[in-house]
């Protein structure tokens, strides 16, 4: 990946027009120049030239960012802000020899799926003891068995059985010889540890759509959380491991129902592994196969919903930044939803505004993160929808938390659960 010093030309492209102030979710909340891209780029430039050091203030402003990419999208000069932020985070972690954000947490938990499994298993067993029941906190959400910890924050419980251990996943160790499109399914941590149902629904739909789907069991975390917290070395290891795991199979597509993992697999892997030219053709072949599940279903498998019952009246859709902006997938999830004759669809205002979770922000600055969510929740409330569909487990966690916190009675579901 490009180092901070190599991005000087990119920094110089910024003409200080201020257009990025109109879209930045952290700037909306904080209302200070230091929060928007123009300010951040100024600080990163000053840091690169030695005008300021790795000060607390510098690190704080670096972290006040969801890496949503809205600034990059709107910048008339096409400044690749996100590449600069990532490089600055990596640089800081390297210089400090310590985490900018929560990289230590990831180091311990995500290094290999085994360590993480073991840690989480223990946590699962303890869960009943340490998490309170949501219903005790709020009758509103009695439909959800979600626990509440600290600050009234709603966190999803760990699954009783992780997705990769379910019979649905384990029963599909390798592609069958059916002659149909061979699709390898990448679960990702959100689906594996928190939302196995999303994984199961994905497998079911892919089968229905005529794919020969299978789930490589040795897959590990995609490394995006580590990468966002500046730990490129960790992300690199994970990328390499996943590359090996998936290369062992002959498949036409690698798909995932997590927007962030999809973006990681498709783009971040190439970025963190770019230091090794020998890998470039392998990475290229790998990335070319990665496709988000919505895009795969619509554009390749031509799937249309058979008319599933959703149990709700009105559905709206939230665009995950890592799908909409990072992978250019906007219409496909909407098309899928609209193909279900039992769904009445309504667009919310600002469907593309960030939910607030990204960039490690919900870990490093929960208050800011959930305040960003507020605007989203207001849009949902105004839309009148009782089901919010989206296509990223990360967004799902944040939206559930936000709906609970701001008292809106709507259910969050993944697109694949509604079609």
């Amino acid at each position: 990946m490009r180092k901070l010093v190599e991005l000087k030309y990119e920094l110089d492209k910024c003409v200080k027009c201020g257009t990025c102030r109109s879209v930045c979710p952290t700037f909306r909340v904080l209302g200070r120049e230091t929060a928007c891209a123009r300010g951040k780029l100024t600080l990163i430039d000053a840091y690169s030239s030695g005008a300021i050091g790795l000060s607390d203030a510098y690190l704080k402003h670096l972290k006040e960012c969801t890496l949503c990419g809205a600034c990059r999208d709107t910048c008339p000069k096409g400044v690749d802000t996100v590449a600069i932020y990532n490089a600055a985070r990596v640089d800081a972690v390297q210089k400090l020899g310590a985490p900018v954000a929560a990289s230590l947490v990831f180091k311990n938990l995500l290094e290999s799926s085994k360590v993480m499994d073991a840690a989480l298993k223990i946590a699962t067993r303890l869960q009943g003891l340490i998490f309170k029941d949501a219903t005790a906190e709020s009758g509103l959400l009695s439909r959800f068995s979600l626990p509440v910890i600290g600050k009234g924050r709603l966190l999803p419980p760990l699954a009783r059985e992780f997705f990769l251990e379910t019979s649905e996943a384990r029963g599909l160790p390798a592609p069958a010889k059916t002659g149909k499109a061979k699709v390898a399914f990448y679960a990702g941590c959100g689906v594996n540890y928190l939302m196995p149902d999303v994984g199961k629904a994905s497998i079911e739909i892919l089968k229905k759509a005529g794919a020969d789907v299978f789930v490589p069991s040795a897959q590990v975390c995609c490394g995006m959380p580590a990468f966002a917290s500046g730990d490129a070395a960790m992300a690199r290891q994970m990328a390499l491991k996943n590359l090996e795991v998936f290369e062992a199979f002959d498949c036409d597509y690698i798909t995932t129902s997590c927007a962030t993992c999809g973006h990681g697999l498709k783009h971040m892997f190439a970025d963190v592994l770019s230091d090794n030219p020998e890998l470039s053709s392998r990475i290229e072949a790998f990335s070319a196969k990665v496709i988000d599940i919505n895009a795969l279903l619509v554009n390749v498998l031509k799937y249309r919903s058979g008319g599933k019952e959703t149990g709700g009246k009105l559905v709206t859709y939230h665009d995950p930044c890592h799908l909409n902006r990072a992978q250019n997938v906007r219409n496909e999830p909407r098309e899928l939803l609209k193909s279900n004759k039992n769904i009445a669809f309504k667009e919310m205002a600002f469907p593309c505004s960030c939910c607030g979770l990204g960039g490690g922000l919900s870990l490093t600055n929960y208050d800011l993160s959930i305040e960003i969510t507020e605007r989203k929740i207001e849009s949902i409330r105004a839309s009148g929808a009782d089901i919010v569909a989206t296509a990223c487990p990360g967004c799902m966690v944040q939206l559930r938390d936000g709906l609970h916190k701001y008292g809106v009675n709507a259910r969050v579901a993944h697109v694949v659960e509604l079609i």
């Binding site: 003409v15 200080k16 027009c17 201020g18 257009t19 102030r21 109109s22 209302g31 200070r32 120049e33 230091t34 123009r38 300010g39 100024t42 600080l43 000053a46 005008a51 300021i52 000060s55 203030a57 510098y58 402003h61 910048c75 008339p76 000069k77 096409g78």
Partner: protein
Amino acid sequence: MLSEIVKRELKRIVGEANASFAKEDLLCYSYDATNSPYLPDAVVFPSGAEEISLILKMANSEGFPVIPRGAGTGFSGGSLPVEGGVVVSTERMRKIIEIDTENLTALVEPGVVTWELQTEVEKLGLFYPPDPTSLKFSTIGGNIAECAGGPRAVKYGVTRDYVLGLEAVLPTGEIITTGVRTAKGVVGYDLTRLLVGSEGTLGIVTKAHLKLLPKPETTKTLLALFPDIKDAAKAVSAIIRAKVVPSTLEFIDSACIKVVEEHAKMDFSGAGAVLLIEADGSAESVEKEASTIEKICMESRASSVRAATGKYEVKDLWKARRAISPSLLKIRPDKINEDVVVPRASIPDLIAGIEDISKRHNLLIACFGHAGDGNIHVNVMYDKKNPVEAASAEDAVVEAFRLTLRLKGTISGEHGVGTTKSRFIEMELGPAVIDAMKRIKATLDPKGILNPGKIFPKANGPQKAGFAGAGK
């Protein structure tokens, strides 16, 4: 440099969290869209007039500059702390206090972003017309201080025409209320108008009472392509002559078209110039006006005129139009961006004259802008690193100013003088006028603490921000 006592006092006035002296913060309040930074000594985020009053009083007694700042999107260096001092940001003052649907007025704080006000009033069927291209990120306070205008000015006028009254803090710290709440009012001098466009040098606006209009029933957007730029310019004059008043009449030349085609992936099939025209009002009158405009364009040798269909196309067209200015730097590394205005009938002469200047200096000059009111943004494209080009670019600009003044125009329609144009105001204004302005300034700001180094040419002051660079 501020003394420790001043720093402590500033913190006491605005609160610990709302005053900063940290380099990180100062860096982020050192620039505006001219992209030529000057580091302030402090940045403060006051909550309203009382705090600002205390700061200004202290500035007078302690002798430090105070620089008002909105979003820092100015094109003339108005919010740059050229002599250091305390930047007063209005970022915390972003409340829409009241929208009065009976009297069609709004009362807002200066840090409100123009687009946010527009969105709110439009929900109530009302309309705040001033629409600088930066409307999604510039503030009402900045708009007032620069008297910002935009495409709709041709029909609806500029910010000045919508300011009924102000609450402002004078440089010496007195809080005043100007203007009236009525449609008329002639008691005393019109201080509201004096403050509007004063570039933050005569007072800090802390509240603005704005005029609203009923929202026009409908709008129609037309796109006219012209093979020859001169015909497009003539069509503008012909439309005005025909007594049709479109709500916007934007002009885009071929260099800008190219950028738009690339940035927004739009196809204008090699046109030499494009006019983007809107008519608004009742459905009936809009149709009538649109067909008159279409006829005039075709008579002026347009190759095609068509209506933009659907909300998305219109949105895309405007997005593309708004992106022109910053995107221009994709074709050449640097540009000097000026916003000259000529009487509308003289637009063809201006365009022809600019083409001539461009040829003579062998420099690409990209033109676009609010042709409907005679305001054309002239962008001289060059490479700063090439000294010969840089010198002729400056010459080209001065020639463009001379041309403008010959055509009885003005050298800045919207962006203001600030630091970038101060050395040129003598070209336009006579010595007696400049002297009168200086006396007004000296009376209201005897110590010269409010936004010093702006508007008036300095004998030997800092002139780093030579030209408007970032461009609009």
